[in-house]
Symmetry: C2
Subunit: 252 residues, 2 copies
Amino acid sequence: MMDVQALPSVARWQPAGSQPALKLENDERWSTFEEILNLLRFDGHVHQANDTGLFRRRRLKAGQTAFCMGQPFDGLYVVRLGALKTAMTHLDGAEHVLAFPMKGDLLGFDGVCKNKYLSEVTALTDCDLIKIPSADLFSPGRACNDIERMAYWAISREIVQEQTTYALSHAAKSEARVARFLRIQSERFKAMGYSPNRFTLPMTRRDIGNHLNVTLETVSRAFSALDHLGIIAVERREINILSLDALRQFEK
Amino acid sequence: MMDVQALPSVARWQPAGSQPALKLENDERWSTFEEILNLLRFDGHVHQANDTGLFRRRRLKAGQTAFCMGQPFDGLYVVRLGALKTAMTHLDGAEHVLAFPMKGDLLGFDGVCKNKYLSEVTALTDCDLIKIPSADLFSPGRACNDIERMAYWAISREIVQEQTTYALSHAAKSEARVARFLRIQSERFKAMGYSPNRFTLPMTRRDIGNHLNVTLETVSRAFSALDHLGIIAVERREINILSLDALRQFEK
DNA sequence: CGCATGCTTGACTGAACTCAAAGTCCGTGG
DNA sequence: CCACGGACTTTGAGTTCAGTCAAGCATGCG
């Protein structure tokens, strides 16, 4: 059924409770503007004048990088399938995980400013991205319409998510951060149409810890603690949220 | 000379070494597109076709809020003068300081997504903002040109700054974070045309601590430590960086 | 099978938080 | 003018939480 059977286990990752991989017959490597709007869950209205354009897709295997820091900017990407991580590498080599983009998220907007990407994007699982070339965003000849509006909207959403994430790393004890992280993951899976209660984390404890600014041991201990309390059930990367309310209580 | 003499001290705030307030005769409350480009330090090229439009300014006294969480989105703002803080308030009432916007920074883009602002902006000093109404950004009739391009560029820069800030709050001991904070402040003052070595912080220790995710006491102790080491000279909010290199060493 | 990677758990240590007191600056009002 | 109050800052002492180091287990891959 799934066309990635032969790949390493992490690549076979799918959210628990997801529909059985809708046939993937559409192996033609192009996406319509409408598909992008659906992926982004854009709720504004468009003029339907852009139906003509097609956008090229890009496949990534788990572990591959979509783009690196310093690479020249060539467009934005929308995640069609899979999970990734974005990170910044400091001068001293230390890495900071910024986010874990998944289906429907937008990538690469940090590249517009200096005309090169300023973060690094790595696929955690096999991925399928859709590219929106910079030409489609900036060419002055093109009608200033749907793509523009959608891009603004999506970028704004990314900013909000980033702010929220940043706020997430704030204050609170380490266990509370982990609880908040799980709650937010749950909401994201729900927004993508998957089960908010049962899901499989695509990232390692180390990545989570880096993201939340705690050590991987602390993440592990927090998971165990929440498990012992009966709030969640953890088995490696399989998460089962038993009481979302209790989880929320833990965030304070 | 300065037209704010009668205001409380925090309102009289000016970066040390700034030019003596260039006459402020331009009390007409409108700004040109060119002024916005200069403020943002936009380095792309524009078509000069937008010279006609004028943008309304908005004055704020220290302590006033530019906009609150939940307020309907009505446009972006560029800081013309002064310093502010942006913050998110959590459900439980806890506040997280996201950034300290100053001259040339862009505000309000988090409002596009849900059509309402999702952060709260407070003036730390008397401020002068320039408003870019949402109509100028989205009206389909308008030529898709300079304003669009500038907005993209500026937003991307904001994202980069936010990512950097987020990464700043990462890892490292509290003293290192404070050192990094000072270094970044120094660079921002330099970018605004002020002295990178001598400046006055517009925000309290509490705000800095909140922003860096440490307590105000820890910030104070870090300042004292850096002072005793001869790396900086601190006197309340007056900062004098004696050795930028030593400060950088401290970030690791 | 053996190795590499990732995860869990324990014991110890140290850095940052909390609580507390005192000092400084500033604006206000007597 | 000076006294007062409030906001901000500094510094100290005790405590707690999370990092470090280390060992052991599970999984998956060659």
